[in-house]
């Protein structure tokens, strides 16, 4: 096969898998069958396209092929004639009516809301989204979440069974449910993004999250929080390559090489955010994106608009972690002594055991020149740090203040 066809096939797979599965689920009502038929359609394309060339509308070709497989299967299983007719009629064959739009655009949105239904466990929502919408294989998802393939396979099966047996509807929720259901979808995408963002070996998850968030923004153009989430992801992702050295050492925001940030990504994120903010009271993802934008658009670390960042943290729900970040921003704006006082006020709260609490204290103490106390706080932080990169970074700081 020529490289060009393979490349095209990969692209089509990425772009069309979700649509093919989403449409097949709608018309067959059977998730496993939908996935199987989609898989067979892609296998058929792999055979057919190198010989006959990529069709003009590859998505329509795939959906039709998958539909035909579903009809065959239903015939074999003697599914009722009415249902069969419905499936057969669902899309025109790709030969006739080429101008007819073949897809119902909100099938993927239906699929997204169903995969992210709050009656499913969070881990099931994430896995199902990756499998059915993004087209990752069960083995790939298992690897991404560090569980065995059979465990992941069971998780997916159970989720699909619950959708079917508990009667989770395959639909975009009605308007009155959207305010509570849209955040559930956004939360799945953000979790996915963060899984990939915190572990360089799994950065593919972040790309999938961004791709799905783009799709969501496209499908829900009137939902500013979807745009806010996409902006947030893009603004974080723009710094991805500068957060670690070639040896895997952590580089703080302050020390990152800002010329290496992805400036196209930053511009896209800021534009999206600006458009979303014009639509009214900003909600949490937009506020977080605004904070990320303050960092991303500061030419140097010293140019960072810390008072603005502190004010933005003040707009978020004051969880202990948000309060800590706000204390950092105020400390950066008004001086380390003020920051330290705020952090010490938090110390008695629910942040006990969270390594960034002593790490933040240590940083303010270091900036105040109180090195002995800083060293003690860095030691506490090293003890609690979750990853090797964090431990090495904190140890480096500890050595600096111990000299």
């Amino acid at each position: 096969m020529t490289g060009a066809v393979q490349e095209e096939l990969d692209r089509v797979f990425r772009d069309e898998w979700g649509q093919v599965v989403a449409t097949l689920i709608r018309v067959t009502g059977n998730w496993d069958l939908a996935e199987e038929c989609a898989q067979e359609a892609f296998a058929a394309a792999l055979k057919n396209w190198p010989e006959h060339g990529v069709p003009d509308r590859p998505g329509a070709w795939l959906t039709t092929t998958a539909r035909n497989r579903a009809v065959d299967w239903m015939r074999r299983e003697a599914v009722g004639a009415a249902k069969l007719k419905e499936v057969a009629a669902m899309i025109p064959d790709h030969d006739d009516e080429p101008d007819e739009p073949y897809d119902v655009p909100d099938d993927r949105l239906r699929l997204m809301f169903t995969c992210c239904h709050p009656a499913l466990a969070m881990e099931a929502r994430v896995a199902l989204t990756l499998r059915t919408l993004a087209g990752l294989s069960t083995a790939e998802i298992a690897r991404a979440f560090l569980v065995g393939e059979s465990t992941m396979s069971k998780r997916l099966t159970r989720a699909k069974q619950k959708i079917q047996h508990a009667g989770i509807p395959y639909r975009v929720p009605p308007a009155h449910l959207l305010p509570e259901r849209t955040p559930a979808v956004l939360a799945v995408l953000y979790l996915l993004f963060n899984e990939g963002y915190t572990d360089p070996l799994r950065s593919g998850l972040s790309s999938e999250a961004i791709r799905l968030a783009r799709l969501l923004v496209h499908l829900m153009p009137d939902e500013p929080e979807a745009a806010g989430l996409l902006a947030l992801m893009l603004l974080h992702d723009a710094r991805r390559d500068t957060r670690l050295t070639a040896d895997g050492e952590l580089v703080t925001l302050e020390e990152q090489d800002r010329t290496r940030w992805d400036h196209a990504g930053i511009t896209e994120g800021v534009d999206l955010l600006d458009a979303a903010l014009r639509r009214g009271t900003p909600r949490p993802y937009q506020v977080q994106a605004a904070i990320a934008a303050c960092h991303a658009t500061a030419r140097t670390a010293a140019d960072t608009d810390w008072p603005q960042i502190a004010a933005l943290y003040g707009q978020l729900k004051q969880t202990p972690v948000v309060a800590l970040n706000r204390a950092v921003a105020i400390g950066m704006a008004d001086g380390p002594a003020v920051g330290l006082r705020l952090v010490d006020d938090l110390a008695a709260g629910s942040l006990v055991g969270y390594h960034l609490l002593p790490a933040t204290r240590a940083d303010f103490l270091r900036r105040l020149g109180r090195y002995a106390e800083a060293a003690a706080a860095y030691r506490d932080a090293v003890e609690l740090a979750g990853t090797d990169a964090e431990r090495r970074y904190l140890t480096r700081r500890l050595e600096e203040v111990s000299r």
Partner: protein, 112 residues
């Protein structure tokens, strides 16, 4: 779809035993989604039955000694889980106890 709403609560929920459902029953009857249900006497008055090797075993009390116990149940018939969730969330017991929604097993047509 048929669902069983199991209305659970801890001991403090007993205080609500005779509260009634504040319009919930009327609304649901009117919508035609309720197929049956009842409130229950407290678990201290329960008797648990098992038969093992043809021997009848009786225990005083509920089948599991958990903090939350079933205090009532409603069988509903509605469009889908979203509607079942909406119905359960409106029940006054959702405000102090817990309501478990269980889809009822589909019985193959030949047994109906």
């Amino acid at each position: 779809m048929k669902y069983l709403l199991m209305i659970c609560g801890d001991e403090s929920a007993e205080a609500h035993a005779n509260d009634g459902c504040g319009g919930w029953s009327e609304e649901m009857e009117q919508r035609g989604v309720v197929e049956g249900g009842a409130g229950l006497r407290p678990p201290s008055e329960a008797t648990t039955v098992r038969v093992r090797d043809d021997e009848l075993l009786l225990t005083d009390g509920p089948f599991a000694e958990t903090k939350e116990q079933i205090g009532g149940f409603v069988l509903i018939n509605c469009a889908n889980l979203d509607e079942a969730i909406e119905i359960a969330a409106k029940h006054p017991a959702a405000g102090y106890g817990t309501i478990e929604i269980r889809p009822v097993l589909d019985v193959p047509p030949e047994y109906v």
